[in-house]
Amino acid sequence: MGNKKFDCVVIGAGLAGMSAAVTVAKAGKKVLLLDQHNLPGGCASSFVRGRFEFDASLHEFCGLGKPGDWALPGRIMMEDHGLNIKWIWIPEMYRCIGTTRSGKHFDVKLPTGVDNVIEKMEEIVPGSREPMKVFMSLAKECVDANDYFSAHMSEVKKDGFLKTDSLYFMKNFSNFLKVAERPFNEVMRNIGMPEDAIDILDVYWTYIGADYSKMSFVHQAWMFYMYAQNEPSITRDNAHGLTMAVIERFRELGGELWLNTKALKVCGDKEGNITGVLTDVGMVETNYVIANVNPEIAYNKLLDENIRVPQREYKRVAAEKHGIRFFNAYVALNKSIEELGIKDYTIFMPGSFDNAKNIEDSKSYEDNTHSVVVIYNVVNPDASPEGTTVMTFTICYTEDVWGDFTQREYVHRKQELFQKVMDNFEQDTGIIIHDCIEEIELATPWTFAHFLNTPEGTTYGYMVDDWDTMLSRLMAIRKDQPIKGFKTCGAAGARGDGYNMTYTNGNDIGKIILEEMEG
């Protein structure tokens, strides 16, 4: 191998890594993107079984916006990065089936459009209209404040936190300042939202993986508003198509992608300056490294002993809790959605709407059968061959409940769980699928640990907790990246999990590295 030298090396071609790579390459830098797998994308991937292709993870992209009116993540992807992606917008929020804490059974479907959602909530739970209006107004302010904040992240105070224009915030986003960090359910109650309505709004919790009695308002409000206002979206050629669009753009910008290539060490000189990345094809010289790697793994395994990791960083990664992880059933049916009577794209089947109980259940194998069902063909006729259907069932766990199973019982555990989930689905919806399954793949935290190499097979990085909110992470985005020339990005980063958040975080980190390059 000859002498290989790059302005920047990005380790890990997950969404954040790819995004960071495009941001840096777009500034005219020579960028190398590495991935240990033979396929880029991380979670944003797909796999083929028989005549079907399954999307590995993209259920609903949040906060894309529309052409000419892109929201923040959409703006980065479509305008700043200039990606060529064929989006499909989903004209519904969700259907949810279950029993609220008051004992009432609901089987309801929320449309998109802010006004439509408000009216629908009033119809479902009378008395919701006025509080819903307040909720949506506050949520809109959260979106605007977040946009403003994201556009002004470059000034740093002496203590390492971002400098913000408090007067501007007081003038324009005073409600945001008051409620953003308060617990979501508390704000809902304080604006007079009926309890049944709170339960129904809380079903999104699996998308964030947090306890809504503790999680800050802004997180759910931003997401809910984005889904309501902009509609959820997916790509016509699934998550792998999205990944290919990013990689193609990266290549156009002169970037190099090395697959099946493992970064063994990030190397430094005696002064602690980054000098290169040792890969399994040899040393690559660079002074700037972005790792789409969980910081705990990066600090403990990736950096060589010359690179000094401040004690505060070891404290930080020790303080963080590993976030949620999934059981996924990817199912292909040899009947069409019309034959089966399927009309909904997303169905939440929490059984109970009690968020606190569900969080408790999510720590257990036996009690956790709360699933989210996504049926791709409802919005994408190209999702599978004519006369067939592809769908996924997802269950999320807030603790490691799969780690103690033995190799021998593993398959039976997967099957036993899916049987329960499928029975629930058939009972709740009346849609019968068990006799027309043509392909099926059951993935667990073991599977995600295998493909992503994340701690405990988590897919959502660190838990968004009441002490570790998205905003306080964002305020510390530079403080949490104290090593000159080395940054981490991804779901464990400042913005948390999700396609939109990780892609945006990659762009943030790419910009920070560019600033360091400029000195």
Binding site: L39, E53, E181, A476
Partner: protein, 399 residues
């Protein structure tokens, strides 16, 4: 939307907001740092189940005659081989003349035997079979053998398959079926298995004793030998036809599994048609790479027998190698000693996925297992692609 007035929130909440980052910092500073970053249970389990590589010692060789040998393998480090689904294979990675050659080989032992530290693979020497010939002639007890982890999708799946499976197999294609039978006997799988095993004569039947043993342990497995060239007591005479399948299927529903050479599939496909079996009920093991692509529809005859130039880009390095149009492109990479990751050799697993930057290739539809976006963006699976011109491809790292 007009701005709302919040009665229950005020200045104290703004202060709460402002203090949030400082509170987080305090929590961080109060934490006792621990250096870990390793030993997560799920990651350990995943690595055990899906190892990149397993290093074995050949414990025992059983010569089954007619160029078929079974190799009993034990891990060099004494740990158990990766647990697998009965019907899966491992990829043998063998260095020959300084070049790494990889070929999938079926597992003939049951999954429960991994818990006794044992994995058996059965190899049949095939005509022009580069690696199989090498193995049969060279492997001896005590040798080291490198394989992949368990691979492949040819296994029983209760949510998809009927409780009764009729498995049609020919020659050494019986190995994954034997593994399934053993898994039923050990309780690791639960379905009724009727094996229609095609051989030329009684002498050609493999693993007769192994099946006897399984059938002593469970009444869920039934073996029917189907002899094409001989009449023998207790055996069917002829080929595995739709009528024969019907005879053993009885009235109930069943899934048809097939494991054998391409010639058997060509015959069986027509019989499956007669039986009206849909995709769900008819499953075939991958038979390896396509030979003689010029026999397939759409192949441009003028490319046959040509030797093209292939420029290969790997991690920024370039190689210029010959590429025989009659062989799949992965073989060209192997001959040049630069083959990267690969597993199934049948276009399905996607491990050898590469980007075709210039040139034309022939991709038989039968083994085109590419993702939709890969087709659009010009990616190919070299193990299932044949060069039709000089070409440039970018391949994954071979390490």
């Amino acid at each position: 939307m007009s701005k709302v007035k919040l009665r229950k929130y005020g200045l104290k909440d703004i202060i709460y907001f402002t203090n949030k980052p400082k509170e987080r910092e305090k929590r961080i500073q109060d934490t006792v740092p621990e250096r870990s970053g390793a030993n997560f249970k799920c990651n350990i389990k995943a690595a055990e189940r899906h190892p990149d590589e397993q290093l074995f010692i050949i414990d025992k060789i059983t010569d089954r005659g007619k160029g078929v040998k079974t190799y009993t393998l034990r891990k060099k480090d004494g740990t158990d081989p990766a647990f697998f689904r009965a019907g899966q294979y491992v990829v043998i990675r063998q260095e020959i003349d300084g070049k790494l050659i990889a070929r999938p080989v079926s597992i003939s032992s049951g999954p429960a035997e991994t818990l006794e530290g044992k994995l058996e693979v059965t190899v049949k020497e095939v005509e022009n079979g580069f690696l199989s010939k090498y193995i049969i002639e060279n492997w001896k007890e005590g040798d080291e053998v490198r394989t992949s982890g368990p691979q492949g999708l040819f296994y029983y799946e209760g949510f998809r398959d009927e409780p009764h499976v009729i498995a049609c197999s020919g020659g050494s294609g019986i190995t994954p079926i034997l593994s399934m039978a053993k898994a039923i006997a050990s309780g690791d799988e639960d379905f009724r298995l009727t094996v229609l095993y095609g051989s030329r004569t009684k002498e050609d039947i493999l693993f007769a004793e192994a099946f006897e043993e399984v059938m002593k342990a469970t009444d869920k497995v039934k073996l029917v030998n189907v002899l094409s060239d001989e009449v023998a007591e207790g055996c069917e005479k002829g080929f595995i036809t739709a009528d024969l399948i019907r005879k053993y299927a009885g009235d109930g529903k069943y899934s048809l599994f097939a494991s054998g050479p391409q010639a058997m599939y060509n015959f069986l496909d027509a019989e499956a048609d007669k039986l009206g079996l849909d995709f769900k009920h008819y499953r075939k093991e991958i038979f390896g790479s396509i030979k003689e692509p010029w026999t397939l529809p759409g192949y441009p005859e003028e490319a046959r027998d040509k030797i093209f130039r292939l420029k290969v880009i790997m991690c920024g390095d370039e190689y210029d190698i010959p590429c025989n149009a009659n062989e799949n492109m992965l073989v060209a990479l192997e001959r040049a000693g630069i083959a990267g990751p690969n597993r199934c050799r049948g276009g399905v697993c996607g491990w050898c996925r590469s980007k075709l930057l210039e040139g034309n290739v022939f991709i038989p539809e039968l083994t085109d297992g590419r993702r939709g976006a890969d087709k659009e963006y010009g990616y190919i699976h070299p193990c299932a692609s044949f060069a039709l011109s000089d070409a440039v491809i970018e391949v994954p790292n071979r390490k």
